[in-house]
């Protein structure tokens, strides 16, 4: 079991810390040649989706990563990572990987003063702590998308085949169940 962490910008070190705690081997993807290594799961961290999307495009990472996801690579996108996966963005911005059939609203809770912490049920694992930082939420889901969590009526976590997208930061709250769900797919 080996995970790759997209390390272009944002909280990738926090994801790596989480993987380390769980005893999962990982490496960073910063350039196209990094994709040459074998890996079983991919993590798209929090940060600024505009920055990561642009860098993925210009560093030649977008197409190969999209292909891998379409071919079944288990992927977890947290916060900005969810935005990268989304098929549509409700502010009309161009989508990035667009592999996950959902519509995501960016900065859905407003500016930093709208950031918050809460607890809510996640899939079948019961309540988990959730940290939302200038977070997005999911406005619409396409066919076959399973809703894993809702907060105040808004969808904040989904699963679709090999893809998991969450609006919050499981790496900041140390929530293992989200990662266990990802690794279960990686086998």
């Amino acid at each position: 079991m080996k995970a790759a962490v997209l390390a272009l910008q944002g909280a990738f070190a926090e994801q790596e810390h989480m993987l380390g705690e769980m005893g999962v081997e990982y490496f960073e993807i910063r350039r196209k040649q990094d994709l040459g290594q074998e890996f079983d799961a991919l993590i798209l961290p929090g940060g600024e989706s505009t920055v990561m999307g642009k860098l993925m495009r210009e560093l030649g990472l977008m197409e190969p990563i999209r292909e891998k996801i379409k071919n079944g690579l288990p992927v977890l996108g947290t916060c900005a990572g969810l935005i990268l996966l989304a098929g549509e963005l409700s502010d009309g911005e161009a989508p990035h990987l667009a592999t996950l059939p959902v519509t995501v609203k960016r900065n859905a809770y407003g500016r930093q003063l709208g950031s918050f912490r809460t607890e809510a049920a996640f899939g079948k694992t019961g309540e988990i702590p959730m940290v939302f930082i200038r977070a997005p939420y999911i406005e619409k889901t396409g066919e076959g998308v399973e809703v894993l969590a809702k907060v105040d009526g808004h969808i904040v976590a989904v699963r679709y085949k090999n893809q998991i997208g969450v609006s919050f930061h499981p790496e900041l709250a140390g929530v293992r169940s989200v990662y266990e769900m990802l690794f279960a797919k990686a086998g």
Partner: protein, 292 residues
């Protein structure tokens, strides 16, 4: 939500900015250029530091109208500066829901003794520091992000390098101390013992640490990242240069792949004219000396 939870969320926003470039902008158009170039946040201000330096006189918080226009123009976080100790300016910035306040030595200090009690605010603060003592004092006052002070508006990176090296060296010293030596270290640094203990246990600051001041090229950005910065602020370096969009993009990529010399060489090619810059020894006003 209690203040502790709010402080955690504010530190966490800084974590999301890591590995990124925060750019000074003075107009909505510049903010859009910065966002398109890959800035992870923008700093809204009326004049960039080089012009503040050139204009002289008292530099104050920017017009809230201008900051709001920038907030409307971009989707990335928007920061703004208030004067050191000017808590009323900070209250105004909080009222317009700024994402981060920079209590900044670039503006004229409003108080030559006291910094703002940042624990009284819900919005996060970033503060400058030229050594570990200053950094930990700002953190104990409630700053949730630290940056080097550098020497703003000069295009000369020497001070940012000096501050980053000093901070890293002091942290390494603390890490190697015996536990019973930490009390004296706290006294020497004029900071609370708990923060010194945190540095010893973790080998780093309890908040994100960026480089700022005098960064003008992709190489400057890579230098600061290799010295231990977690991201960079670029002020005058971008919009005082010949081709701001191209330079901004190059600096963003340099911060992501700061160890890849071949890529850095490519990024450094043909960027047009860099900001002219002033050497540290040629300037009369050392902004980094403001607020200790």
């Amino acid at each position: 939500m209690n203040q502790n939870e709010r402080y955690e969320l504010n530190k966490e926003l800084a974590q999301m900015l890591k590995g990124g470039v925060i750019m000074d902008v003075t107009t909505p158009e510049q903010a859009e250029i910065a966002q398109a170039a890959g800035a992870c946040a923008v700093m809204a201000l009326e004049k960039i530091p080089a012009d503040i330096r050139a204009a002289g006189g008292v530099a104050r918080m920017s017009d809230p109208k201008m900051i709001k226009e920038i907030q409307a123009a971009v989707s990335i976080p928007v920061m703004a500066k208030c004067r050191i100790g000017h808590f009323a300016e900070a209250q105004i910035l909080e009222a317009i829901e700024i994402d981060y306040i920079d209590e900044s030595e670039v503006l004229s200090p409003a108080d030559d003794v006291y910094h703002i009690d940042k624990t009284q605010f819900r919005v996060p603060f970033v503060c400058g520091a030229k050594d570990l003592g200053e950094a930990l004092r700002r953190i104990s006052e409630g700053a949730s992000m630290i940056r080097t002070k550098g020497e703003p508006g000069t295009g000369d990176v020497v001070q940012a390098v000096r501050h980053m090296r000093k901070m890293q060296k002091q942290m390494a010293e603390i890490t190697s101390m015996r536990k019973d030596e930490l009390y004296q270290a706290a006294k020497d640094l004029q900071v609370p013992y708990e923060l010194v203990r945190y540095v010893q246990e973790n080998g780093k600051l309890p908040v994100v640490n960026f480089a700022a001041g005098g960064i003008a090229t992709p190489a400057d950005a890579a230098l600061m990242m290799q010295l231990g910065a977690e991201g960079v602020f670029v002020g005058s370096g971008i919009f005082k240069s010949g081709n701001p969009a191209k330079r901004a993009q190059a600096i963003v990529k340099a911060v992501t792949n700061y160890k890849d010399a071949a890529l850095l060489a490519e990024l450094s090619e043909d960027l047009g004219e860099a900001m002219v810059g002033i050497n540290e020894s040629e300037i009369e006003l050392l902004m980094a000396e403001r607020g200790k």
